[in-house]
């Protein structure tokens, strides 16, 4: 049982001040813009909820949101099973384990713009390794800047390359925490591989997998830099995800009102996801 102690507030005050400075003031700015119209010169006019209505009805927003959900859905159904499969195939101990962990984690430590630039160089049709291989060795026409489908495949593969290791590391951490006695008992019972996975390994990985799925959901939902550097949202608007569209409107066209309204809608979606995340996490905490 934790001690009741209101002086704990003193301990959290520095965190509160710093995060509030960064979160509340900008949020108020956004709320301000979202209900006003400006023609420059610091002149603002009350606009009510018009911007929200405009954004929610605009086809551009629907399309960006649709692409965003498609992207998040695709990377989740690829990365999660793939990550689990790789974690299952990894040795439980031995000299290779630290080597595997370090090399697998490496992509996650590369600055996001470098990830985009790296994949750009990798996929250039005539001088990139993948681009050359596809076009000249396999004879499949592949050019990300021309073909929307190729652009989509590339951003998905890039994200799989970048973040599958997160699922692997978490699933692996769950797997190594299973005592050997469980496997011995399963062997005595003559359990099949599938039964071992379904009734021993999967339940033990439940907590870490919840974390992995929700982190991947949220981070992929907020993704900006990698696809922006790789495709710039193109060809056309085919890979313009939600964040890319938002930055285009806010910093490119300086349409502050619609951008602010869109920000708040965007934020509300992530807030809902965070709440789900928190509820699931604390439920797990209470059980253990």
């Amino acid at each position: 049982m934790k001690t009741q102690n209101q002086r704990a507030w003193l301990f959290v005050t520095p965190v509160l001040l710093l995060v509030a400075f960064n979160a509340l003031i900008p949020m108020m700015t956004v709320v301000n813009y979202s209900v006003q119209e400006t023609f420059g010169n610091n002149l603002f006019f009350w606009q009510g909820l018009d911007w929200f209505e405009q954004v929610l009805r605009s086809e551009r927003f629907h399309n960006a949101l649709g692409r965003q959900f498609l992207f998040t859905f695709l990377i989740l159904i690829i990365e999660v099973p793939l990550g689990i499969a790789i974690a299952l195939a990894m040795p439980k101990q031995g000299p290779w384990v630290p080597f595997c962990l370090v090399t697998m984690a490496l992509p996650m430590l590369i600055p996001w713009n470098v990830v985009g630039a790296m994949w750009n160089i990798f996929t250039l049709p005539d001088i990139g390794l993948l681009g050359y291989f596809m076009n000249h060795t396999l004879g499949i026409s592949y050019d990300m800047t021309q073909n929307p489908f190729a652009a989509w495949v590339t951003i998905i593969v890039m994200d799989v390359w970048h973040w599958t290791s997160l699922v692997v590391l978490l699933a692996y951490a769950g797997l190594v925490s299973i005592p050997n006695a469980y496997y011995q008992a399963a062997e005595i019972d003559g359990a099949s591989n599938w039964a071992v996975f379904r009734f021993i390994q999967l339940p033990k990985m439940k907590t870490v997998l919840t974390i992995a799925i929700l982190l991947r959901f949220m981070d992929s939902f907020n993704i900006y830099t990698e696809p922006f550097v790789l495709t710039g949202g193109g060809p056309g608007n085919s890979t313009t995800l939600l964040s890319i569209d938002l930055v285009k409107i806010a910093l490119g066209q300086f349409d502050l009102g619609p951008a602010a309204a869109m920000s708040l809608i965007y934020f509300a979606i992530t807030l809902l996801a965070s709440w789900l995340f928190y509820t699931l996490m604390t439920k797990n905490d209470n059980k253990s």
Binding site: K2, T3, Q4, N5, Q6, R7, A8, F11, V12, P14, V15, V19, N22, A23, I25, P26, M27, T29, M90, P91, P98, C100, T103, M104, P107, L109, I110, P111, N113, V114, M118, F122, D126, I127, G128, L129, L166, L169, L170, A173, T207, I211, L215, M218, N222, Y224, T225, L246, V247, L251, L256, A259, F267, T270, L271, A273, S274, W275, F277, Y278
Partner: protein, 265 residues
């Protein structure tokens, strides 16, 4: 069984391929890159690296990035330590709500904050300083540090605190000489994750700087857009950004998963 052990090998090969290509590209001459495809550099050159280490715009990009990343890591861990202690040991009015609110900031899209941050930090006169980026990154790094440290601290039995009080330790002395050593791996992991997320982030650091504190990421985008043919230079710059991560990751290799799980494995 043999087949199974091949899976991690193939996966690691897949991870290394684009990295190999970046590194190989960085050792090629511009002529060779433009002339066509070659699997290995035909004529090895260090020209790209020499240019980066002799041109101040380039190498200051690295120094600027390292300065704000270090500042951010120190600030985040220092303020997160007492807060994490409070969350792990005490219950107080509003603790759950506060914890949840912190988490929402870790999940907030950076794109939402880009423009307001630009205005806020211009208004307080911090625009284009290292401190501005370091403070802005606190938005997602402090919540992360609090979560990770709270996870590690909850793993330390409460009896440790109680015994120390009985022995007559004051709180600051207990915290510094007994508690901190007990969670030192947690502090290391929290610092590592703050370093990592500040190092890889680009949208905010680019928005908040112009000349003086320009991060390496922004220097790279300039090269990418102004001179499309300088691929070798871009590749060399990219290769150099991988090195700090590769070094620090070695020290926390056994705790990476625990850190990503926010201290909850």
């Amino acid at each position: 069984m043999r087949l199974k052990s091949l899976v991690p090998v193939i996966y690691i090969l897949f991870l290394m391929l684009p990295i190999y290509w970046l590194v190989a590209m960085s050792f090629k001459t511009t002529n060779e890159i433009l002339a066509g495809f070659s699997l290995f550099p035909q004529t090895w050159t260090l020209a790209n690296y020499i240019e980066i280490f002799t041109d101040p715009t380039w190498y200051w990009g690295y120094i600027n990035s390292i300065i704000y990343v270090t500042m951010n890591t120190v600030i985040s861990v220092l303020v997160a330590l007492p807060a994490a202690y409070a969350f792990s040991r005490y219950s107080f009015v509003g603790d759950k709500h506060l914890f949840f609110w912190l988490l929402t900031n870790r999940m907030a899209p950076a794109a939402v904050f880009a423009l307001p941050f630009f205005q806020l930090y211009s208004a307080v006169g911090l625009f284009d300083t290292h401190l501005a980026v370091a403070l802005a990154h606190c938005l997602f790094n402090i919540p992360l540090a609090v979560w990770i440290l709270e996870g590690f601290m909850s793993g330390v039995p409460k009896e440790l605190d109680e015994t120390a009080y009985v022995d007559g330790y004051s709180f600051p002395r207990f915290f510094a000489t007994i508690f901190l050593p007990a969670i030192k791996s947690g502090v290391g992991v929290a610092a590592f994750f703050c370093f990592m997320f500040s190092w890889v982030e680009m949208l905010l650091s680019k928005t908040l700087t112009a000349v003086e504190a320009k991060p390496i990421a922004a220097v790279m985008t300039r090269t990418a857009s102004s001179a499309g043919y300088e691929l070798g230079l871009l590749a060399a710059a990219g290769t150099l950004t991988i090195i700090p991560g590769a070094i620090v990751i070695y020290f926390v290799r056994n705790y990476i998963a625990k850190g990503f799980a926010l201290g909850r494995v």
